[in-house]
């Protein structure tokens, strides 16, 4: 169940098609590199997958559809946020379509599902978003890289920020599932003050009024929350409407460019912990944001930025091996070198194949053109390695 998007040949499938059309002079030189791009494109969380896909596609466009000097084809795979469907489709991409590398994945449960099928086929898997901590620690894998973060890190950023801001009493609210519980743990790993209460809400919850009443009753110095996608849209607007806007709103993956259009003015002034914002001052980032908005007509989120970086990472690695993807050891070393310019500025891989990078406290703002974006406020962690790296004993490939 894959959507085939062979760049250049059949690019008419929905993706700013004309811009991707490229002459095919290069194809004759060598068989193209095949990339399987996994993203959730159906269901309520599809907007996150759309960011991811568009970010990677823009990267390919800036690379003129070549990776390390070889022509490239991208096979877009919709994981539907259904683990069993994702496994079937990714296996098909590797066994039938002979994908050389699998890139993408928004959600941790999908990554966990496809981890074994991909790495056991000795195929490199590069996560551009999901980063469950087991894969950074004891479960680290020679065929797995992440260009994003360990999930807990963005929450730890907010914990540190709350600590730095001197908040004494903080309330935590997350959905009742693994990533939600990890978020609470990540926040508490850095925050030393009092946690007034922790609220866990059902993942399908639409209305937060019951919880907002509890927050108002507890009157904390700040709220820390993690509500991805539509959950965040509902929470942020209801939080404002309930008049709680004066309680600082600290979050991760809750107010970002994927949902800001729907949150609008309600989110302005809310905080998020992140690896990247559209405002980070470097040349690569400026070009990425400008061309992304030009082509897709919306502001990119970190899902898009990490995916964009991943295209350049692949390009640099394949260039380093001289186009050879058969020698897995050499390719691994080449990926690990991370010899590309990231939209995040600092970027290197640690021993566990997760990034060593900066983390930022960012705040939502309304731009002059009426669109919304996150803007970096200050650097919370400088060139930091994730806390799980020490547990990783990277096996030899």
């Amino acid at each position: 169940m894959t959507m085939r998007i062979e760049l250049g040949r059949r690019a008419a499938l929905g993706l700013g098609a004309s811009a991707l059309a490229m002459p095919l002079v290069a194809r004759a030189q060598a068989a193209p590199v095949k990339v399987g791009l996994v993203a959730v494109l159906t269901g309520p969380q599809a907007s996150l997958g759309t960011h991811l896909r568009d970010g990677f596609m823009l990267g390919m466009r800036h690379l003129e559809n070549r990776l390390g000097g070889r022509g490239a084809e991208v096979l877009v795979i919709d994981d539907e946020l259904r683990p069993d469907a994702a496994v079937t489709k990714v296996r098909a991409a590797i066994e039938r379509d002979r994908c050389d590398v699998i890139v993408g994945v928004v959600f941790s449960n999908i990554l966990a599902a496809i981890m074994r099928p991909v790495t056991e086929a000795q195929t490199f898997l590069i996560s551009t978003n999901a980063g469950p901590s087991p894969f950074a620690g004891r479960g680290c894998n020679p065929f797995f890289f992440a260009t994003s973060y360990v999930n807990d890190q963005n929450h730890a950023v907010m914990g540190q920020a709350a600590q730095d801001a001197g908040y004494r009493r903080v309330m935590i609210m997350t959905p009742n599932y693994q990533a939600g519980r990890d978020a609470a743990a990540g926040f508490k790993s850095r925050y030393r003050g009092e946690v007034v209460d922790e609220i866990y809400t059902p993942l399908t919850q639409l209305d937060f009024s019951a919880e907002l009443a509890r927050i108002a009753a507890a009157r904390p110095d700040a709220l820390f929350t993690f509500m991805p996608g539509g959950l965040g849209v509902n929470l942020v607007r209801q939080y404002r409407q309930a008049g709680l806007g004066n309680i600082p709103f600290l979050s991760a993956f809750t107010v970002d460019e994927a949902v800001l259009p729907a949150q609008g003015d309600a989110a302005v002034g809310f905080f998020t912990g992140t690896t990247w914002t559209p405002t980070l001052p470097n040349e690569q980032n400026a070009r990425f944001v400008r061309d992304f908005e030009g082509q897709f007509n919306y502001v990119p989120a970190s899902y898009a930025a990490h995916a964009y970086d991943s295209a350049f990472l692949l390009d640099s690695a394949i260039r380093r091996t001289g186009g050879n993807m058969a020698d897995k050891g050499a390719l691994r070393a080449a990926i690990k070198a991370a010899d590309f310019r990231s939209v995040r500025g600092n970027f290197a891989f640690g021993a566990n194949h997760f990034p060593v990078q900066d983390f930022w406290l960012a705040k939502v703002a309304k731009r002059a053109d009426g669109k919304f974006q996150t803007e970096h406020e200050r650097k919370v962690f400088d060139n930091v390695t994730d806390p799980f790296a020490a547990e990783c004993r990277m096996p030899a490939g």
Binding site: N176, R181, T201, Q205, L212, A216, Q241, A242
Partner: protein, 307 residues
């Protein structure tokens, strides 16, 4: 937990119940009168919300959007009735389930194709942006009070329509024994169409009301559909009164369970366990309630159908 807080939670439960009622009312009538299982009822709620978002963006006014979205939802419901549903009235439940599931797939993907996958927003109407201070630091949004008021008024109107008008009499008769009504010479097809269009409009109305507080996104009706089915089964199929009371019951159980369950669990368990078990249990609560009610009163609280 203080009394004020309990009161606020009660209001919240009431408001959820009202939204559920607006969806369940159409569902229970269509099911009761036509013996037709319409899984696509939830997407009509979504379509209503999307109409609201679209018209609000075009006109810049919530009220105009409401005014335009209602007839649009009605027309859309009638269109679906004409294209698909009317060919299914004579078929068994399973055929209806399969076909209306097809409609869900088409419409969920259709709105995504037209409006994109990202959630949309509908701004609050200016007159209702404020709130009433119910306790220190918490405003109860005026808009939510308006939802409660509007929903209660609609429920009253519906009661009047069903209990006091000729069409309502036919609807009630149809819910009890549809073949008999047809045998008495009533144009049952037209009655079906009226009921169907009205039900679709009510679901669309719920969607419009919810649009300013909930995110408007593809698939937003799917989970509410399941809740609405729970409501009509608890209430008794075909019964407006049952749907109303069951909707309030489900709304209150959902809301109060969510806030009280963790505290309750804390009596037996450690705080962190209590939070997780409490959250899981409160998700199950309405299903447990439904299973219990069905086990003891298989036809629901207010059975209508003559068996």
């Amino acid at each position: 937990m203080s009394t004020t807080l309990l009161l606020v939670q009660g209001l919240n439960g009431l408001q959820l119940g009202i939204l559920l009622f607006l969806i369940a009312a159409g569902l229970t009538l269509v099911f009761g009168v036509m013996d037709f299982i319409n899984l696509a009822h939830g997407v009509q709620y979504m379509v209503g919300a999307y109409f609201a978002a679209f018209f609000a963006a075009q006109t810049g006014s919530f009220w105009l959007a409401l005014l335009l979205a209602l007839p649009a939802a009605l027309l859309f419901g009638l269109l679906l009735e004409f294209l698909v549903f009317r060919h299914l009235y004579d078929r068994d439940h399973m055929a209806q389930v399969l076909a209306t599931f097809g409609v869900i797939l088409v419409l969920n993907q259709g709105v995504k194709m037209v409006f994109g996958a990202a959630p949309l927003q509908v701004p609050l109407p200016d007159a209702l942006t404020g709130g009433i201070r119910v306790m220190e630091g918490l405003l109860y949004p005026t808009y939510r009070l308006a939802i409660i008021a509007g929903g209660l008024a609609t429920a009253g109107l519906l009661w009047w329509l069903v209990e006091r008008t000729k069409v309502g009499m036919l609807v009630r008769a149809g819910a009890t024994n549809a073949p008999m009504v047809a045998a008495l010479g009533v144009d049952i097809r037209r009655l079906f169409m009226v009921v169907f269009g009205f039900g679709a409009m009510l679901a669309g109305f719920a969607g419009v009301l919810a649009a300013p507080i909930l995110s408007v996104e593809p698939g937003m009706g799917d989970n509410l559909l399941i809740l609405a089915f729970v409501v009509i089964v608890i209430g008794g199929i075909g019964s407006i009164r049952g749907a109303f009371l069951a909707a309030l019951l489900v709304g209150l159980v959902e809301t109060l369970g969510r806030s009280l369950m963790p505290d309750l669990m804390r009596l037996f368990l450690s705080p962190s366990e209590a939070r997780q078990v409490g959250a899981a249990l409160s998700s199950m609560l309405i299903y447990i309630a439904m299973a219990a009610i069905l086990a003891f009163r298989p036809a629901g609280l207010f059975p209508v159908r003559a068996s």
